[in-house]
């Protein structure tokens, strides 16, 4: 059973990276001072734009919520790789002995935790600003967990692709947003089903996003190392 120590090492590396990244975010307060205000600002602007038609705002709430999550999540993902690009840290990571798959999973976990916090705050924002009554809790929670996994697994993989390029700040959204279109559609449909009281229509979308996340986890575990070499 040679694979067991390898898996243990990978998970141990992932935990080390995730803790380090989250500690960096807590210390730098970039998420608190920039990402969360930006996300709430997006919600407020949507409310201003659609406020004259309260019915349209209510109908569009699931889509607006997930667009706000995606835009704000992009900032968190860019930040996740910006900290590694500074002052020779990329080389130090390559020399560290950490497994690339562990680095990938750790960064994914860190981004996912940040996204979850963001989604909870945005959920409160939606309830307060848009007057949305929350129903279908189980489907909503499952959608949030699976969509977060899908966004963070794909985002981390595309983050390392863009990390080595000088135009990474502008390139990452261009690369990632089209890829995440199925997640945006799936999470929006699942939220619509939960909020309209027809959860059975939402679960297939949760299944689709689970497959999406699983595919990107596998791609990340095997592809992150070679991509990190090129970054």
């Amino acid at each position: 059973m040679n694979s067991c120590p390898a898996v243990t090492i990978m998970l141990s590396d992932a935990w080390l990276i995730a803790r380090k990244d989250l500690k960096l975010e807590i210390r730098s307060r970039v998420a608190l001072n920039q990402v969360i205000p930006f996300a709430l600002l997006v919600l407020v602007l949507f409310a201003f734009a659609l406020d004259p038609d309260r019915g349209l705002l209510e109908k569009a709430t699931p889509g607006l919520y997930w667009i706000a999550v995606l835009f704000s999540g992009l900032l968190a993902m860019q930040r996740s790789f910006a900290v590694e690009a500074a002052d020779g840290v990329t080389d130090a990571l390559r020399l560290s002995g950490l497994t690339p798959s562990g680095i990938y999973l750790g960064k994914t976990l860190s981004v996912a935790v940040q996204l979850l916090v963001l989604e909870v705050l945005l959920g409160v924002g939606v309830a307060v600003l848009y007057g949305t009554s929350i129903t279908g809790w189980l489907l909503l929670l499952a959608t949030i967990v699976v969509a977060t996994a899908a966004i963070s697994t794909a985002g981390t993989l595309f983050g390392v692709v863009a990390a080595g390029l000088r135009v990474r700040e502008t390139l990452l959204p261009l690369l990632l947003l089209p890829v995440l279109a199925p997640v945006l559609i799936g999470s929006t449909r699942a939220f619509e089903a939960a909020l309209s009281g027809t959860p059975s229509e939402g679960w297939p979308w949760v299944g689709l996003m689970s497959v999406f996340a699983a595919v990107y986890v596998v791609a990340g575990i095997f592809g992150f190392g070679p991509l990190m070499e090129e970054s």
């Binding site: 080390l16 380090k20 500074a86 002052d87 080389d91």
Partner: protein, 234 residues
């Protein structure tokens, strides 16, 4: 141990063996056919003008720059076959600090120590050795002076206990006390069995430290001088 014993061969084989090693940066041959042999426990000074290839050679030995032709074996690993395999066994002190500005000195040293799967006690010992224990250990790296950052990078390297130390301008940015600490670290590491290759423009200090001096120019080793000093074996 007999000469044909694999253990004997691994102990006596050179830590670094380069023959006609070529490394390209884009299309430019930063190393244009370097020949170099370095035995265990030796301290080798690389000297040469800016652009001579010192930094590229150190990065190539660390497995960060690919060798495109020639022979390149470091710590028994053929860099042309798998240059990643040698990385966790070398310590590179580069121009960049390799530190996270928002984390404290202790956070940084402990993170890189754990990443290397070394004992966390080694991190504390390394910080103490570099004079970074006490109040300084809780200061964010972004608030440190250049010299203190350099010391923190050295503490990270020391705690990892690498077999091959690759030091690019290790004295840069350090005061006299810091430079003395670097020299002591290098001597102690060699005495403990490590091999050290350093580049430095601090020639007075470095020549005194080195067992061998290799002059680089135009991406090749122009000449090699071997001092008559001891081999640090205790």
């Amino acid at each position: 141990m007999e000469p044909d014993d694999p253990t004997f061969r691994s102990v006596t084989a050179p830590v670094v063996h380069l023959r006609g090693a070529v490394a390209l940066l884009g299309r430019f041959p930063a190393l244009a056919g370097v020949d170099l042999d370095v035995d265990r426990r030796r301290i080798v000074l690389l000297r040469g003008a800016n652009g001579a290839g010192k930094t590229t050679l150190l990065r190539a030995l660390a497995g960060l720059v690919p060798i495109t032709s020639g022979e390149a074996i470091v710590l028994g690993v053929d860099l042309r076959v798998d240059r990643r395999a040698v990385r966790h066994r070398v310590g590179l002190l580069a121009h960049g600090t390799g530190l996270y500005d928002e984390l404290t000195v202790a956070d940084n040293v402990r993170f890189w120590t754990r990443a290397a799967r070394a004992d966390s006690a080694d991190a504390d010992a390394a910080m103490a050795r570099l004079g970074l224990d006490g109040r300084l250990s809780d200061v964010a790296v972004g608030r440190l002076s250049t010299g203190q950052r350099r010391r923190t990078s050295l503490a990270c390297l020391l705690a990892r206990r690498p077999e091959l130390w690759l030091l690019d301008e290790p004295h840069a940015g350090l005061d006299k006390e810091g430079r003395d600490i670097v020299d002591d670290l290098v001597r102690d590491a060699a005495a403990a069995g490590a091999t050290i290759i350093l580049s430095s423009h601090e020639l007075d200090r470095s020549i005194e430290l080195a067992d061998e001096i290799v002059t680089l120019g135009g991406g090749v080793a122009l000449d090699e001088f071997v001092s008559g000093g001891d081999d640090h074996a205790q």
